[in-house]
């Protein structure tokens, strides 16, 4: 029997039928209650059933008040696509992203892309998933062909695929995901298949390599199914019987994982991948209980396979941190005991400095995880918590359903795999900021230490030697700008989400400005910490469309300094007044009084609680702060 590619990192559902039935018969169920069911280990039948239930309650329109941007996904391909929808939609629900799906008439992907009167154009996708199967791509290639004819075929297919990407981009300006084909062709030659130019298997392998390179040039994100075939085996992903019967390239049992792969790319595009890995210590990072077994009694390092497995897991965690994932510790221990191995055990790969937030005490883990989120100024929905103890996992899942808790055994062998397969930290671009992040959190702690040693706030702020560097939006900062616009929830006055194309439009608009602000201080570079977008609402008034800021830099006078910048840019556009909107969400209560605190005249709230405050630039006096401002 074949191994099934399944959602093994999610917990097995208990009482599945009863829970699904409870959702089905609920009068007015919440989107969150449905999301809880979507976060279980669902096979394709359960996925289909949950999808049908969710659609019967919520229809096809996104629920109101969702913090994420709804997605209209066109699934475009050469084979049968119908069985792919539920897995994708339910994986979106798992990440709180509403995905409405569309598929082309059988085989008509190209016609629908180029025909402005097609149903695809009417659908207006925000994301397109292009899935061209291996049989379709290698059609016409045969073993009898001359090398140059094969070469010509390869170029033709590449042009066709690239043409689809460009057509989609031109028509919709949408995010494009290209699914690489499954290697469905049996070998004709064997180990050195590439020596037969007309081998379809060799052709597809070459095409896949070329598509990787083209996708980089064209800015297309890949869904690399070949990677999953290497992991699970082709039989887990492709069933020739079902191909012949129904032209399903991806086998039914693999569709929940397939959906998750699509949804994680969509979530990553919105800047909603997880950001922080929270580690339990005893029997997760090392073997044994440090408080009982002592430093010498820990199973860690050379000498046993188990000890090496813990080292391998630590190494994976450290590699994740070097690419931008924040590490934290949440352990039931006396702090001194918990820290000791980090400082003294020779086989520890992780050092105290790798951990941005270290909490070891006897409180319950849910409270401690809340404290970690608060300390790091990130949302709970950005945390992944790994623990060998099923009790702790269940407690955190129950108390904090937005925290991801991978289902693992108590064997550390499986930990790296669980984290990797779950795709929590899926990234589409690795920015310099990502790589520098761990050291930024380290510098934050040094700042805190300085604050404790300086007695009054003004002298502390002065001693930070802060510089605010502003730049207009530009290509270099584009990824980071979009990332911040889409993931900042707390210090965000209007929570408007914009795509790359939206940002490019702002850059081109002469009556708007978009600014990215970087904050430096004596401890280092905090990176881009704020985004400001202003646009002339009429001849006199500049509307502050977007004002968002990283909570890392709260309380450092960045707000009044930013207002000085807004005022200056507004006056360049001829504005006499600033209009500051506040649109309340579940998460941005902290900036409710933002404009009033800065001296704006408050306005009436509308029915939804949104307010518009006004500032007269004629009488505005720029605030004097401890931050030096310059363009750069």
């Amino acid at each position: 029997m074949s191994i099934v590619a399944g959602l093994h990192w999610l917990p097995e559902p208990q009482d599945w039928r009863a829970r699904l039935n409870a959702l089905a018969t609920a009068a007015d169920p919440s989107w969150e209650s449905a999301a809880t069911l979507a976060s279980l280990r669902l096979d394709f039948i359960r996925t289909n059933a949950l999808d049908a239930t969710v659609r019967s309650h919520f229809g096809t329109a996104p629920p109101k008040g969702l913090a994420t941007k709804p997605v209209r996904l066109a699934i475009l391909g050469s084979g049968t696509l119908a069985h792919l929808h539920p897995g994708i939609r339910m994986a979106g629900l798992r990440r709180s992203v509403h995905i409405e799906t569309y598929e082309n008439d059988y085989g008509q992907y190209w016609q629908e892309i180029v025909d402005p009167a097609s149903a695809l154009h009417e659908f207006k996708p925000t994301t397109a998933l292009l899935t061209l199967d291996g049989h379709h791509l290698a059609a016409g290639v045969t073993a009898g062909m001359e090398a140059e004819d094969v070469e010509r075929s390869l170029r033709e297919v590449l042009e066709r695929v690239t043409g689809c990407w460009r057509g989609l981009r031109e028509a919709f300006g949408c995010h494009i995901i290209h699914q690489l084909p499954l290697p469905v062709h049996p070998a004709l030659v064997g180990e050195n298949e590439q020596r037969l130019p007309g081998s379809r298997a060799a052709f597809l392998a070459r095409l896949t390599a070329e598509l990787r390179a083209r996708a980089e040039i064209e800015g297309v994100d890949l869904l690399a199914l070949d990677r999953w075939v290497a992991r699970d085996g082709l039989d887990a992903w492709h069933d020739p019987g079902m191909w012949h019967r129904a032209k399903q390239e991806v086998a039914l049992p693999a569709t929940p994982v397939y959906g998750d792969l699509v949804a994680r790319l969509i979530a990553a595009k919105q800047g909603r991948s997880f950001k922080c890995l929270v580690l339990d210590l005893d029997n997760t990072v090392w073997g044994g209980v440090v408080g009982d077994d002592g430093l010498e009694g820990l199973v860690l390092g050379q000498g046993s396979a188990l000890g090496e497995a813990y080292v391998a897991f630590q190494d994976y965690a450290r590699e994740l941190s070097r690419r931008g994932v924040i590490l934290a510790v949440c352990s039931k221990n006396d702090e001194a005991n918990a820290v000791e191995p980090f400082e003294k055990h020779p086989d520890m790969v992780l050092k105290r400095g790798d951990i941005a937030c270290f909490i070891a005490n006897w409180n319950d883990k849910a409270s401690n995880i809340r404290a970690i989120a608060q300390d790091l100024n990130i949302g709970l929905d950005a945390l992944v918590f790994i623990d060998d103890n099923p009790f702790e996992r269940a407690l955190v899942r129950r108390e904090l359903p937005m925290v991801a808790v991978p289902e693992v055994s108590d064997d550390p062998l499986g930990y790296p795999r669980a984290l990797a397969d779950a795709g929590y930290f899926e990234a589409l671009a690795i920015t310099d900021e990502d790589r520098a992040r761990s050291s930024q959190y380290q510098a934050n702690r040094e700042r805190e230490a300085l604050r404790a040693s300086v007695t009054d706030l003004p002298s502390y702020l002065r001693s930070l030697e802060m510089q605010l560097l502003w730049r207009r939006f530009d290509q270099i900062g584009l990824q980071r700008t979009v990332q911040l616009i889409n993931k900042t929830n707390q210090f965000n006055l209007t929570t408007r989400r914009y795509t790359e194309d939206d940002v490019l439009a702002i850059m081109r608009d002469a009556r708007s400005f978009g600014l990215q602000l970087r904050l430096l201080d004596r401890f280092g570079d905090n990176g881009i910490i704020a985004i400001l977008i202003g646009r002339m609402a009429n001849e006199e008034d500049l509307l502050i469309d977007t004002w968002l800021m990283s909570c890392r830099v709260l309380g450092r006078q960045v707000e009044p300094t930013s207002l000085n910048l807004i005022a200056a840019h507004a006056q360049l556009l001829g504005a006499r007044r600033l209009l500051g909107d506040y649109i309340p969400t579940k998460k941005n209560g902290m900036v409710r009084e933002h404009y009033v605190k800065l001296g704006f005249t408050p306005g009436e709230a509308d029915g939804a609680g949104a307010t518009r405050a006004v500032l007269d630039l004629g009488s505005f006096v720029p605030a004097d702060t401890f931050i030096e401002v310059r363009e750069g």
Binding site: M1, V4, D43, F44, I45, R46, N48, A49, A52, T53, A82, H83, D239, G241, M242, H244, R245, A246, Q248, A251, L252, P253
Partner: protein, 80 residues
């Protein structure tokens, strides 16, 4: 197992696939059950393959006409 012994499992799988109870009897065909199209047929087949760790022969699937055929093939394939 006898053919009859497969009906409880088939009933369970049909309930999961169609999200309602379907009264199974040997002469029940896809035409008798609203929504039983070729996609649902594949879902039922794949669910059974996973459940019993078996693989249906292409010929066996082509020859299926009703629930009775399905139970008969299952009984043959799981015979040890």
């Amino acid at each position: 197992m006898s053919e009859a012994a497969f009906y409880p499992v088939l009933t369970e799988i049909f309930r999961d696939v169609f999200m309602r109870d379907v009264a199974l009897r040997p002469d029940l065909t896809a035409r008798d059950v609203p929504g039983w199209d070729s996609f649902k047929q594949i879902e039922i087949i794949v669910a059974l393959e996973e459940r019993y760790g078996i693989k249906f022969h292409t010929k066996e699937l082509d020859a299926l006409n009703n629930v009775g055929d399905l139970a008969r093939v299952l009984a043959q394939k799981t015979k040890t």
